[in-house]
């Protein structure tokens, strides 16, 4: 029997398999950031050992950095100490750091791909669950805890149990106003926030093939929201074209050799999946979430489920969720008032996302009572946006273009949504308090978020498109 894409990459990275236990998996690239690495460095220092392969690690500061006045010292003491600890640890262990002020600084899952560090066929880890993003390039990429960060630092390996395999096929053509974020929110609404736990998920089908790399990253990014160990898409010409010429992409002969290998990275026709799901692209509408996990999504023209539509044993959690959100079962979602719009995060802060928003809002202005934050994914995205004049479009629309970082996606820095306020967000999680204690998050695509910014209410973006 043939192999899946996952199996081809996995098998090539297994150092050994323990009887009745996990495999020792070799890791090619390790991204680190300030929040989940300090305790790992402490562990190494306690053992008196140095990082084993520092050249295979890339560091940045993103989770806990301000998104205004980045040239000034960080005001909040604990945040500053954490960012300084990263700098010191990287210096001591010989790790490349793209810290604040560096032209490559940015959200770890944005900079890896844009610098050409992320490549097909690799194993990639980071102490961040959205590491699944990198799988869009046809590699095995997954989030790990700090103990595992320490393992990779000490041995470049992890103990991993091979997950089951699932393929999600999306075929057909997307409707007007529907983008990749809608695809992944639609899948989540279908299979739930735990629908892929225990699986590595490969996304396939003609609708996936037609997407740009940025759009593919949005989908793989949120595979963790289904519980998946990782998400991946087989590399193709779109992938190769994206990587070619980037800073750390292979050059010359090395490029030819890499390309020849990358072209072998696809699932064999007779490869077997433990589970397979089929979705028609035509069935997908612009999506929005109403609840407190990313699986609680509906078409923007739809309504919050009524109690009769909810499984008996899920009713308590459902009611708790609606109470937090200040919504009633059966409510229409369209027309609900919005207080904040956040366009950013490792899900949707790439240049294509900003272009999409700029294209839509050009010549329009935000609604009076809405605050709109645009947080680019990296210094390079920020520079490109300015180069293209996108910053001017945002300024004229009354949107605030901030500086790169994770920002209001997780509300770890000062970018928080106040309690009780509604925020349409292009990020990945609508958990209670995620964007600030008491904040109410509605996840949507950059287009749907931009539409809400203009009208001040939840809007079906299709009604505003020509």
């Amino acid at each position: 029997m043939g192999k899946t894409l996952f199996e081809k990459i996995w098998d090539k990275h297994v150092v050994k398999t323990i009887d009745g236990g996990p495999s020792v998996l070799y890791i090619d690239k390790h991204f680190i950031h300030e929040v989940t690495s300090p305790q790992a460095f402490t562990g190494l220092n306690k053992r008196g050992i140095k990082v084993f392969r520092p050249k295979q690690i890339v560091a940045t500061a993103d989770h806990n950095v301000p998104t205004l006045n980045q040239h000034l010292p960080i005001k909040e003491e604990l945040s500053r100490l954490q960012v300084e600890a990263l700098k010191k640890n990287c210096e001591e262990h010989g790790i490349e750091l793209y810290g604040l002020g560096h032209p490559y600084q940015g959200i770890v899952h944005v900079i890896g791909p844009e610098l050409g560090i992320t490549q097909p066929g690799m194993t990639i880890v980071c102490g961040d669950s959205h590491t699944s993003t990198h799988g869009a390039f046809g590699n095995i990429a997954f989030g790990i805890g700090t103990s595992e960060v320490e393992m990779v630092m000490t041995t470049q390996c992890l103990l991993q149990t091979k997950p089951k395999l699932m393929r999600i096929n999306i075929d057909g053509e997307l409707n007007k106003g529907v983008v990749s974020k809608d695809i992944v929110l639609y899948i989540l609404a279908k299979i739930s926030a735990s629908g892929a736990t225990g699986y590595a998920v490969e996304f396939a089908g003609s609708a996936i093939r037609s997407l740009s790399m940025e759009a593919r990253m949005t989908i793989c990014n949120m595979s963790i929201e289904m519980g998946a160990r990782c998400g991946m898409i087989a590399p193709d010409e779109t992938t190769f074209e994206y990587i070619k010429g980037r800073k750390f992409a292979p050059q010359g002969e090395a490029w030819d050799k890499a390309l020849a290998y990358w072209k072998t990275l696809y699932g064999d026709g007779d490869a077997n999946f433990d589970k397979e799901i089929f979705i028609k692209a035509e069935d997908i509408e612009p999506m929005i979430t109403y609840g407190t996990n990313p699986g609680m999504g509906i078409g923007v023209g739809g309504h919050v489920p009524s109690l009769t539509e909810i499984d008996e044993k899920e009713k308590a959690s459902f009611k708790k969720s609606l109470q937090y959100m200040g919504l009633e079962a059966g409510d229409d979602i369209k027309g609900k008032k919005v207080d904040y719009v956040f366009i950013g995060s490792c899900t949707n802060s790439r240049i294509e996302d900003l272009r999409m928003v700029a294209n839509f809002v050009k010549g329009k202005h935000k609604a009076k009572d809405v605050e709109v934050w645009i947080v680019p994914g990296s210094k390079q995205v920020e520079a490109q946006a300015k180069h293209e004049g996108i910053d001017k479009i945002f300024e004229e629309a009354g949107f605030m273009l901030r500086q790169p970082g994770c920002s209001a996606c997780l509300g770890m820095n000062e970018d928080k949504i106040p309690a009780g306020k509604y925020c349409v967000s292009t990020s990945n999680r609508n958990f209670e308090g995620r964007q600030g204690a008491g904040a109410r998050t509605l996840l949507a695509s950059p287009l749907t978020a931009a539409a809400a910014a203009i009208t001040g209410v939840i809007t079906d973006v299709r009604e505003l498109l020509n």
Binding site: L81, G145, S147, T154, T197, E225, K313, F431
Partner: protein
């Protein structure tokens, strides 16, 4: 890492599904560079009104004196979301040694195991039976036998754990010790496979 063999304790019930790691420990408490002291902020925003320790929410189990013990029992898909190991650290620091649920998110499960906190996966039916117990009821978890028992009724279920992880937990070994012992094999792999 502290070894885990047998645990007999009362339990704290949280019959809520999809408890994510942002609830277990909100992001604003992740600014520490050590592993200590996270227990006081465990379930912070479910425990206190307006982030005020003087205003505990009386309807939350951790604030109800009738519930105590070293076992946390929660609804399915426990620990989903962020990979923050701070979630496992806060559970351990608060005083829990085991978490029981019908379903755990992958990353949390690994993080818990790497800190000597045992995730025990039981069936939906068994979980329901535990939630139906009163607050003086105790549970017994035997890692060697891989069983969990409701002491009052004697009802018991077997739970899964890999042989490797079981050995680690029974002896208090961690993965890093094991991986370091493979250094030569890893270097060999690098020269032949890369």
């Amino acid at each position: 890492m502290r070894a885990f063999t047998i645990l007999n304790s009362r339990f704290v019930p949280l019959p809520i599904e999809n408890i994510d790691t942002d609830q277990i420990i909100p992001a604003r408490f992740l600014k520490s560079t050590t592993k200590d002291g996270f227990g006081k902020n465990l379930f912070r925003d479910w425990r206190y009104e307006n982030d005020d320790e003087k205003k505990p929410k009386t309807d939350f189990a951790l604030n109800q004196s009738q519930y105590k013990g070293e076992i946390l029992v929660a609804g399915k898909n426990f620990g989903c979301g962020s990979s923050r190991e701070h979630a496992a650290w806060s559970i351990l620091d608060y005083g829990f040694r085991a978490v029981v649920s019908s379903f755990f998110a992958d990353i949390f499960k690994n993080n818990a195991l790497n800190n000597g906190v045992l995730p025990v996966t039981v069936s939906e039916e068994f979980l329901k039976k535990i939630f139906q117990q009163n607050n003086t009821s105790t549970l017994s978890i035997d890692l060697e036998k891989q069983t969990i028992t409701i002491d009052k009724t004697g009802e018991q279920e077997h739970f899964d754990i890999s042989d490797y992880k079981k050995t680690c937990l029974l002896n208090g070994y961690d993965d890093i010790d094991y991986l370091l012992s493979l250094k030569k094999e890893i270097e060999q792999f690098e020269t032949t496979e890369k």
